[in-house]
């Protein structure tokens, strides 16, 4: 299979469909339609962890680790926003160790906003956003030290993680922090499951932001992505069925959906 550099007609259709879905859900939500959202258990754990910090007066740590500026970071910021607001309400200390300078600017913005919404703009401390390092293991060692020195009461690890995941999570374990992790990298989920109180898997990270805020735009996005996923699922089911009947009905089976997606413009006679 050759690499994909430009859209094929099939992909263009899917892209337009995706845009239309988002538009439709947005306008539905704006008209007041309330979507059902499945409860995501890890999200309750977020709230109780912050509550526990308030009881013990210990700081809250939130990290997006290796997440680059992009959709994943964007989703993490949604969660950070609601945590920061709660932290501001409880007058707790919030620490956000950072890996990439570009992300740092976005994070600072989000937290400042959350404090303003909670009506505590004055108590926002820019030094709570600490740039540690852009080197994976230097970051991990800095995080380990930070957790121990600050005796964090809760640690939230959201975003993209690589080998350093277990180091971060174990550091939280050692100081007895309540930990919730959400990783888009399946390789690390097993380690989080072993060391954290709750682990959100893959896409639950994207869902949790909407679940927490119930914000119309976020809910609409969630609904639109579910519908697009349904389309993918449908493609797979059809493809499997066609592949299965292939020995008996080769002609029918030759209309594989992959052809629809990957044939390029040249295959169409204008």
């Amino acid at each position: 299979m050759s690499g994909l550099e430009h859209v094929t007609p099939g992909i263009l259709c899917v892209l337009i469909f995706a845009g239309w879905l988002l538009y439709r859900e947005l306008s539905r939500v704006k008209q007041g339609y309330v979507h059902f959202i499945r409860r995501i258990p890890g999200v309750d754990a977020l709230e109780s962890a912050v509550g526990r910090c308030a009881e013990q007066g210990r700081p809250v740590v939130f990290t997006t680790a290796l997440t680059d500026v992009g959709p994943t970071l964007y989703a993490c910021l949604g969660v950070l926003h609601s945590i920061a607001r709660r932290v501001a309400q409880y007058k707790l200390k919030l620490l956000i160790p950072q890996y990439t300078p570009e992300a740092m600017a976005l994070v600072e913005d989000t937290v400042r906003d959350a404090y303003r919404e909670a009506g505590r703009s004055s108590s926002f401390d820019p030094e709570s956003i600490k740039f540690l390092s852009s080197e994976q293991f230097a970051f991990a060692s800095g995080y380990m030290g930070l957790m121990h020195r600050e005796k964090a009461g809760a640690a939230f690890m959201f975003g993209a993680f690589a080998a350093e995941a277990l180091v971060l999570a174990e550091a939280g374990q050692q100081v007895g922090a309540r930990q919730v992790a959400a990783s888009v990298s399946p390789e690390q989920v097993a380690f989080f499951i072993c060391t954290c109180d709750y682990t959100l898997i893959g896409e639950e990270l994207f869902g949790s932001s909407a679940y927490l805020s119930r914000e119309p735009v976020q809910v609409a996005t969630l609904a639109a992505q579910d519908r697009l996923k349904l389309l993918c699922l449908g493609f797979i089911v059809i493809g499997v069925l066609l592949a299965t009947i292939q020995p008996w009905a080769p002609r029918v089976a030759s209309i594989m959906p992959d052809r629809l997606l990957s044939s390029d413009w040249g295959a169409i006679s204008w």
Partner: protein, 359 residues
């Protein structure tokens, strides 16, 4: 109310910039190959992409700024842990200094070698210009160019002699005499060519002249290669290079590897603590993990051979079937979610967080 207007205008501007940020890559994807080539994007794609990278690269000072602000204050006010902050700042400044020094040194080295190589490139250029005089630019007469070539090579020869003297210092590596011998023989060959060039008339380009220039081009390239080895050897003996090696190999690499190695230990604790069979789910995870582990070590094999089942095969099947399927589903789901978020991000379909409403 004026403030409110200004604020709105700014927000609109931010949206416009966000949209502009994405439009190039989006169109590049959307347009067919022929259109992309027609627009000239195909030829300049790398240069344009570099432009985008430059914007991000300019953020490189943000991290340093943050660190210096944080730890500098701690040092100045002697807050708790100031000693460690000092160590950090020391590490930072020495690495900046040493890397810069090492880099400048390397740049100088390569430009020195480049100058030696230039003799050969110039000779080929003289030849090609004489054979096919260029239409778009003026070229000096052949004899003037040859004089320039001779002058250039004389200057290079004395620079090379100087470098050879340096490489014979008291702490010279064992390979130095061999390298020097190599350079000297190549230099002699080139010198011979040069003296021949000086003897030959250069009013016009004959077969003899042509052969001479070709030989100079070849010999100068060989000399440059040999010379670069001496340069490298001398470079690795400079104090700045030793400091760099010490910081990079002695500290940076070792600390990184040690941090990574902690994982090997932590995995033990994680396995003991968390792989408890509390439910069907945790039981499945544990069983799979144990089977895969047994399948990849030798002790697993000898046990299995007795039982008549190959643990290697079980491991392979687990990796190929259930693991790949679930992995694929996670990636697909996260990909779709990322796609929707990406559209939203690009078109600034916003609610909170980024360009928020003032309340």
């Amino acid at each position: 109310m004026v403030a409110q207007d200004v604020n709105d205008a700014r927000k609109k501007l931010i949206r416009v910039f966000t949209f502009l940020g994405g439009i190039y890559f989006f169109l590049h994807f959307l347009l067919p190959e022929s259109a992309v080539s027609y627009l000239g994007w195909r030829a300049n794609h790398e240069a344009i992409s570099n432009g985008f990278i430059v914007v991000g690269a300019m953020a490189l000072g943000l991290g340093i700024f943050n660190i210096v602000r944080d730890h500098g204050a701690r040092c100045v006010f002697k807050r708790s842990g100031w000693f460690n902050s000092l160590a950090l700042l020391l590490g930072l400044s020495s690495m900046l200094f040493v890397t810069t020094g090492q880099w400048i040194n390397g740049q100088k080295n390569s430009s020195d070698v480049r100058r030696v190589r230039l003799t050969g490139e110039f000779a080929s250029r003289i030849l090609s210009d004489a054979e096919r005089p260029p239409q778009d630019r003026a070229v000096p007469p052949l004899s003037a160019r040859i004089t320039a070539l001779l002058g250039h090579q004389r200057a290079q020869a004395s620079a090379i002699e100087g470098e050879i003297a340096v490489s014979l210092g008291p702490d010279a590596p064992a390979s130095a005499p061999m390298l020097i011998g190599e350079v000297k023989s190549k230099l002699d060959a080139l010198d011979q060519d040069m003296s021949e060039i000086a003897r030959v008339p250069w009013e016009a380009l004959g077969p003899q002249q042509k052969a001479l220039l070709e030989r100079v081009a070849q010999n100068a390239t060989k000399l440059a290669s040999a010379y670069s080895l001496i340069k490298q050897a001398n470079h690795s003996r400079t104090r700045i290079h030793k400091l760099y090696t010490f910081l990079y190999d002695g500290l940076f690499n070792q600390l990184g590897s040690a941090m990574f190695a902690l994982l090997g230990v932590y995995i033990g604790a994680a396995a003991y603590r968390a792989f408890r069979v509390r439910s069907l789910e945790s039981g499945l995870m544990m069983a799979t993990a144990v089977l895969v582990m047994l399948g990849q070590i030798s002790l697993g094999e000898s046990q299995a051979a007795r039982a008549g089942v190959s643990l290697q095969d079980i491991r392979q099947w687990l990796l190929e079937v259930p693991n790949s399927a679930a992995f694929r589903a996670i990636r697909l789901g996260a990909g779709v979610a990322g796609l929707m978020l990406a559209i939203r991000m690009w078109l600034s379909i916003e609610s909170t967080s980024f360009s928020s409403r003032e309340r």
